[in-house]
């Protein structure tokens, strides 16, 4: 059953390729660019973590890949390619077949995602029955086997349960079984452990990684928790206000965060106090949706423009995403590009 895991380094055609994607949403404050021109590739067998805070556009990116954007959202430009095929060109019926059998999704609230009126075994078997045309009885048996694979004890009995009879951790295992039932190539997991208790979070993360590696899947893991990223992902992509500000191999990015935002996010996530006992906090907040920003989006919260005397440039011109080294580490920052701040050694306090 266990296929050898492909090398995490993508070879040949990437599984997912996002090119210059822009998505706009109408809000009370006018039209807002939720995603403002991103490029992102996910290789076969690769686990990519997409990190960012509320409003950074990370969940919109996930929904764009699955073509599940809210009806009011508009893709202004760009394309999402699956194996080189533009998903926007597929008919709705074709896209329905892609979901579940090639791309599947896992959400934050497993109990809200499950249908409360149908037995979980039925729900896990839905992709098999309706997309693979497996007969009902056989689909049920395969559901039970899948539930057992994801670590549910007494799977035969639990398959007959309803969503309300499951704990959060069990419900997320059921959703995992449902997500992999159709044998997808890409699993998109949007904050899959955020709503779970800490001890159960560890179980679910371990399960997801094992499932993805054993079945040779690719995974896009969306999270705001940098702790999760370090243990799971091959590559990390950091988004801020609709743009990618930094991306690179996980250990590079975790140990040597380069963009001032990534560095600040890591320092504030670790909750390690300064010498005076106060926690480091990023000043201010993310730009308000719809706020017009000419230069760098992080400029108002960043200490470097004034410190380095480059405020004019940071305010006037948006920096590009450029390579920091030969190992695929990219960063969108004038100070880094000009060599004014170095690619750091380990973050202060990272080792406690």
């Amino acid at each position: 059953m266990i296929a050898p895991a492909p090398e995490p380094v993508a070879t040949g055609l990437p599984l997912i390729e996002i090119r210059n994607l822009r998505v706009q949403l109408p809000t009370r404050d006018g039209i807002v660019s939720a995603i403002d021109g991103i490029d992102l590739t996910i290789g076969r067998g690769e686990i990519v973590a997409l990190v960012g805070e509320s409003g950074s556009g990370k969940s919109m990116t996930a929904l764009s890949i699955a073509r599940l954007l809210p009806p009011a959202a508009r893709v202004v430009s760009g394309e999402v390619l699956l194996d080189g095929v533009d998903l926007a060109r597929l008919s709705d019926a074709e896209m329905d077949r892609v979901r579940g059998s090639r791309i599947s999704m896992l959400f934050q609230q497993p109990k809200a995602t499950l249908d409360p009126t149908s037995r979980v075994g039925e729900q896990v078997g839905e992709t098999l029955r309706f997309q693979r045309h497996v007969p009902r009885r056989e689909a049920w048996d395969r559901s039970v086997a899948l539930l057992s694979d994801v670590g549910i004890p007494e799977a035969g009995r639990r398959a007959r349960a309803y969503a309300h009879q499951l704990s959060g951790g069990m419900a997320q295992r059921v959703m995992t079984a449902a997500a992999i039932s159709g044998g997808p190539e890409l699993l998109i997991a949007d904050e899959p452990t955020t709503a779970l208790d800490v001890t159960v979070q560890a179980q679910i993360l371990r399960l997801l990684t094992t499932m993805v590696r054993d079945h040779g899947l690719s995974m896009l893991l969306i999270t705001h928790d940098l702790g999760i990223v370090a243990t799971v992902a091959d590559r990390v992509v950091v988004m801020y206000a609709g743009k990618i500000v930094e991306d690179g191999p996980t250990d590079q990015l975790i140990n040597r965060p380069t963009h001032p935002y990534t560095e600040a996010l890591m320092r504030s996530s670790l909750l390690i106090p300064n010498d005076d006992g106060r926690l480091y906090a990023i000043p201010g907040g993310t730009p308000r949706p719809g706020e017009a920003i000419a230069g760098c989006r992080f400029r108002a919260r960043c200490p470097y423009p004034d410190m380095l005397g480059i405020a004019d440039r940071c305010e006037a011109i948006e920096p590009g995403l450029h390579a920091c080294d030969a190992e695929g580490h990219n960063c969108r920052c004038w100070a880094v590009e000009a060599g004014l701040i170095q690619v750091r050694q380990a973050t202060p306090g990272h080792h406690g």
Partner: protein, 353 residues
């Protein structure tokens, strides 16, 4: 002052091995502010049917704990551990079935309407989700002013001045008073909810997962604010969180709950340096990537149902150290100065950490 001066004279506070946060100088005295003694709360489960066995959720079972004036007591535990119920019991938002709760010596359970209203001026609570804690149709200023008006404090003009002052205290511009909740970010709403809780000048503030819904960069801002307020106003805080990093930073002492019982209590430094209960150890390991990586943080199984909790030690079914004797209820016993644990195998657990 008090006739029965039989209490121990508090000695000097031992130096903490890691200097995380400077102690507030004026709160060294260990004067109890909130005392919970043998409190139990069971909630009936709806359903069960005619002739059906009446089932109850064991939310809190025989819990005793003291919150000292001026301290931050961290309360950790997972879903269903009863930590939120405990906070609600202290404020009498729900009534305890049995046991005794006092606030500054005054019986909370026996308080009549008038006494309770006076007590609530001294005890406040803030919740996890500020969006649902605020009326969307009321301006921020009205929300903050409401408790003052309800308690008949000041006139309109003085209350308005108080609102401006409170907004300033939580780091918001007075112009926020005319905004609606929908015009504020999550972090800003958190500050509003804190300002409202402070409006009556409470001495005790229970914070129920106050930062769980916030982004990392905002979470640190709110935690800094809570610490500043505690130092400025001499508040006593009960800090409920499932995030061990938050509790580690902000607490003086930490209590760990599991399925309705307190299983360990000690100083912050003791609990994190030498956790004694196997459950506490799992919880801490799960929040520390360097330990979680070795599988320490993974607990077998799910938390059992609080409807039919296991007999004896409630963690025994998931505990790697459980033995036959764990079927008996373990005593909550001292394991060192200021450190108590409800585990008969704590010495073995200590060795394994």
């Amino acid at each position: 002052m008090s006739a029965g001066s039989t209490g121990p004279i508090s000695g000097p506070v031992p130096a903490s091995p890691i200097t995380v946060r400077p102690r507030h100088a004026s709160v060294a005295a260990e004067r109890p502010l909130v005392v919970v003694e043998g409190v139990t709360k069971h909630f009936p489960v709806s359903g069960g049917g005619f002739l059906g066995r009446r089932e109850v959720v064991h939310a809190i079972d025989d819990v005793s704990i003291t919150v000292r004036e001026g301290e931050v007591l961290g309360l950790v535990g997972e879903t269903g551990s009863g930590k939120s119920t405990l906070a609600r019991l202290i404020l009498r938002l729900v009534r305890a079935d049995t046991g005794r709760i006092t606030f500054d010596g005054q019986d909370v359970l026996a308080a009549d309407r008038g006494q309770l209203k006076a007590l609530r001026r001294q005890m406040q609570i803030i919740f996890q989700d500020p969006f649902s804690a605020l009326d969307p149709s009321m301006r921020i200023g009205q929300s903050i002013e409401a408790p003052l008006a309800q308690h008949g404090i000041g006139d309109r003009a003085s209350r308005r001045r108080k609102v401006d002052e409170l907004l300033g205290q939580v780091g918001l511009d007075p112009s926020f008073a005319v905004r609606f909740p929908s015009e504020c970010s999550g972090g800003q709403l958190h500050r509003v909810v804190i300002a409202r809780a402070l409006s009556l000048g409470p001495r005790f503030l229970a914070c129920d997962e106050p930062t769980s819904s916030l982004d990392a960069s905002i979470r640190a801002q709110i935690l800094n604010l809570l610490i500043d307020l505690r130092d400025e106003l001499g508040l006593t805080l009960l800090m409920i969180s499932h995030d061990l990093r938050v509790v580690r930073h902000i607490s003086d002492r930490v209590a760990v709950m599991y399925l309705g019982r307190i299983v360990e209590l000690g100083s912050r430094d003791e609990i994190f340096a030498q956790p004694l209960h196997p459950y506490t150890q799992k919880l801490i390991a799960a929040s520390m990537p360097e330990r979680a990586g070795e599988g320490h943080g993974v607990v077998q199984g799910e938390p059992p149902s609080p409807i039919n909790p296991p007999s004896g030690c409630r963690f025994r079914e998931r505990c790697p150290l459980a033995i036959e004797a764990c079927h008996e209820l373990p005593p909550f016993a001292s394991a060192g100065p200021g450190h108590s644990v409800a585990c008969i195998r704590w010495q073995d657990a200590a060795g394994a950490w």
